[in-house]
């Protein structure tokens, strides 16, 4: 449907993809949109690739984002972002964490981890890399990488005000981790501006 925002979140098992997609859905719902999301459980939990499709707008039918229509891909692992890049729309953008996690095949030497930066450049994929590891280190909490990435991406998601994001984090993040996640979100939110300043 026209007017629907399409987002794909990806990464590997245990990185907090599902919580991040919950927060986006809550924020979109708080902003008055119809929302759907889809994810795959099961085998994916054992360190495999994990992805979640989120769509919101006036009325959403398909739970799946169609190839060539994703406005944003949020990736918590560099190669996983590249794996989904063909879903990007002509105006879409990949927002990727600066995290590399080797698949087992790479660890055992059966496969090689590709030069993701080079491939992104060669294919002309619009991409913002977010230094989530730096933010996580500053906050002394590795688990907040998902929400830091979300903070950076939130500036690129139309139709959702900051207050709706904050309310969503309050609703979806367990009480004891709320404060540090809010901080990670805010620091992530600064990132695109910093990147822009550097480039211009």
């Amino acid at each position: 449907m026209e007017g629907t925002t399409n987002i794909i979140l990806c990464g590997t098992g245990g990185q907090g993809i599902l919580l991040a997609s919950e927060v986006i859905c809550a924020a979109a719902w708080n902003s008055g949109f119809d929302v759907k999301k889809s994810e795959v459980h099961g085998m994916a939990q054992r360190g495999g690739s994990v992805s979640s499709h989120v769509r919101f707008g006036d009325k959403v039918y398909s739970v799946l984002v169609e190839q060539g229509t994703a406005h944003l891909i949020l990736s918590l692992e560099k190669m996983e972002g590249l794996r989904w890049a063909h879903f990007l729309s002509p105006k879409g953008r990949l927002v990727s964490a600066d995290i590399r996690i080797n698949p087992m095949t790479v660890n055992t030497g059966a496969a090689e981890y590709p030069d993701v930066d080079l491939l992104i450049e060669e294919k002309g994929i619009p991409c913002t890399e977010v230094p989530v590891l730096f933010i996580a280190k500053e906050l002394n909490n590795y688990k907040v990488v998902n929400v830091a990435l979300l903070g950076a991406a939130s500036t690129l998601i139309p139709g959702i005000e900051v207050s709706a994001w904050e309310k969503a984090i309050e609703e979806r993040v367990p009480a004891k981790a709320r404060e540090v996640n809010m901080e990670a979100f805010n620091r992530g939110r600064e990132v695109p501006h910093i990147v822009k300043e550097v480039r211009t």
């Binding site: 889809s38 054992r46 990007l88 095949t105 059966a110 294919k123």
Partner: protein, 596 residues
């Protein structure tokens, strides 16, 4: 957010299909629910257990038992639900097919969660065909709101028409979330048990009458369905009429918003009148359905029309908007500006600290492999272990090993043991073991006991000591159970004690009689370590042999620049020292004091 959902009496919730089914059962006044975990159905009972204490919910040892206990509860006049994955319905098919004849005293809803695309399954059977074969009523929701509403409707249909109702969902319904209006619980008293032999004992004389009633029931429900809101005609452009059901409806609406649509919610028996009227009022008929040509063959043979279906969309895998667009509106296919990149896959792996790693590493080192089964340990097939060669269905590891032995009697046996988790063994492996004892097999069965049904996310089972709703339970004693089957050689070993694991595997596989090894160590999801502990690596001692990498541990990778292993602080599991044990020169060390 921590609030139990039974406190929410009205309003809108953002629910997965599975959560919506649980909610629907609660609102319907369901009294009792039972299931065996299986992706993508598991969260239905988990949600009931966590949020809806008004429903007495429990894990059963397998799907057949889960359906039998809900059948009994229905006989006693309770509203009941049983949930399972598609292949689970094969296990429960025996009670289902006869329950269809017997009917429902208290409403019976059976959820079949199919897995087209095989995200987490060994086949992609389409259980709409099971509903037809069992002659039970079937409903197919297409989002979470319908999952909730159809569950409520299913209880009403079940009691009104005296039939079990199959609520057929798929992974994309179960694991997708959408907004759903919720209501309050309707309290219904349990009717109580009354003796009714003619109804509940299908000896042939009774069963023949029952079958007649089943045929009448299907006719009645079909006619009722013509006027039911479960089915919906949406007239728009009449040149094309699409007949669809379940998740496929959403894809049709997405890619072809101007088409007329007949959306079927009741798909067994089919509501013939409404289908006939729709066919008459549109031009070309297209049938969009995931999986087998169930609607297509039914409709084509009934009306002898040239409706196109599987000629346009595949019967393998899941449907998605791309495939449906190509089928319905090929001229609108969306260009993708960026081409897909071929990348190394990222298959799932055993967790860091997983008990199974010790067993599979030992097997790999001794060139042993296994007839395998369904669970986390199916991952034993992956490199670097390559220690699993067959998987058929739940419990089959044991029977398959027995059969290989029988075929090769007097010939050289391949180096195989049967590898089966304790939950799967209790589910249906034990009958295989009884067969091995009875028929004189001499092989080795390895029961990998982590006391948790792990692959589906960590559910309780009879060996855990706790029920779904958190009550303490007796722990099933596997050793005594195996002994009672008639096995004389039984060894319990900690699979993380690699020396002992190797000794036991060698000794038991050489024994001239049937032997059972129980590898016992709790799943890492079952406990929280008291403190962090990370393996330390001394690069000066390292001889760069990569023995630690052959563990296939996600915490160990190779640092190509330094030429030594790198230990991931984040992934290293505190209560595991497998890498310390395999290092031949003592370059790895770890302090395990006080971590558990």
């Amino acid at each position: 957010m921590v609030k139990k959902l039974n406190q929410v009496r009205s309003g809108t919730l953002f629910l997965s299909g599975n959560e919506a089914i649980a909610r629907g059962a609660w609102e319907s006044g369901a009294h009792f629910a039972a299931a065996y975990p299986g992706t993508p159905s598991t969260e239905i009972l988990e949600t009931v257990g966590e949020h809806y204490p008004e429903i007495n919910a429990q894990w059963a040892p397998n799907e057949k038992v889960s359906l039998e206990v809900v059948a009994g509860a229905s006989f006693a006049g309770a509203r009941v639900l049983s949930a399972m994955k598609h292949v689970g319905l094969n296990v429960a098919a025996d009670p289902l097919f006869t329950l269809s004849y017997i009917g429902a005293t208290g409403g019976i809803v059976v959820v079949s969660a199919d897995d087209p695309g095989m995200h987490s399954s060994q086949n992609e059977q389409d259980n709409r065909l099971m509903a037809r074969a069992a002659k039970v009523v079937m409903l197919e929701p297409s989002d979470s709101q319908e999952a909730l509403d159809f569950t409520r409707e299913a209880f009403e249909i079940s009691e009104e028409f005296d039939t079990p109702v199959l609520l057929r969902v798929t992974t994309r319904i179960c694991h997708s979330k959408s907004l759903a209006k919720v209501g309050d619980r309707k309290e219904i008293p349990v009717k109580g048990y009354t003796k009714d032999i003619a109804k509940r004992v299908p000896i042939p004389a009774n069963a023949r009458k029952m079958h007649t009633r089943v045929e009448e029931r299907l006719k009645k429900v079909s006619e009722w369905g013509d006027g039911s809101s479960l089915n919906r005609v949406e007239m728009r452009d009449t040149s094309v009429g699409v007949i669809t059901s379940g998740i496929s409806y959403q894809y049709v609406r997405e890619v072809y918003p101007e088409a007329s649509v007949l959306k079927l919610g009741l798909t067994n028996p089919l509501p013939w009148k409404i289908i006939e009227d729709f066919i008459r009022s549109v031009g070309r008929i297209v049938i969009i359905e995931e999986g087998e040509p169930y609607l297509e063959e039914s409709i084509r043979s009934r009306f002898l029309i040239d409706a196109r279906g599987k000629a346009l969309v595949p019967n393998e895998g899941e449907l998605n908007p791309e495939l449906v667009r190509k089928a319905l509106k090929p001229e609108s296919v969306i260009e993708t500006p960026i081409q897909a990149t071929a990348l190394p896959g990222r298959p799932p792996t055993l967790c860091p600290g997983c008990p199974h790693r010790g067993a599979f590493h030992t097997m790999a080192g001794m060139k042993f492999s296994s007839t395998g089964d369904i669970g986390c340990y199916t991952l034993g097939l992956m490199p670097p272990y390559n220690a699993l060669e067959t998987t058929v269905c739940m419990g089959a590891a044991v029977g398959v090993l027995a059969g290989i032995e029988k075929a090769l009697e007097g010939m050289e046996m391949p180096r195989l043991v049967a590898a089966i988790g304790e939950s799967t063994f209790v589910h249906s492996g034990i009958t295989g073991l009884i067969d091995m004892v009875y028929n004189g097999n001499t092989g080795t069965v390895m029961i990998m006991d982590n006391s948790l049904t792990a692959m589906t996310g960590g559910q309780e089972n009879p060996t855990t000591g706790r029920t779904l709703q958190g009550k303490p339970a007796p722990v099933l004693d596997l050793v005594e159970m195996v002994k009672a089957c008639g096995v004389n050689r039984i060894v319990v070993v900690d699979p993380h004690d690699l020396k002992e694991m190797k000794r036991v595997l060698k000794e038991e596989t050489q024994a001239p009689e049937l032997s059972v090894i129980i590898t016992r160590r709790p799943c890492i999801m079952a406990y929280k370590p008291l403190r962090k502990s990370v393996a330390a690596h001394d690069p000066d001692k390292c001889v760069h042999c990569k023995a630690c990498l052959r563990l296939g541990c996600p915490a160990i990778s190779w640092d190509p620049e330094a030429g030594v292993p790198a230990i991931s602080e984040m992934h290293c599991w505190p209560n595991c020292n497998l890498c310390v044990q395999v290092c031949p020169v003592g370059a790895l060390s770890k302090d395990l004091e006080g971590v558990v």
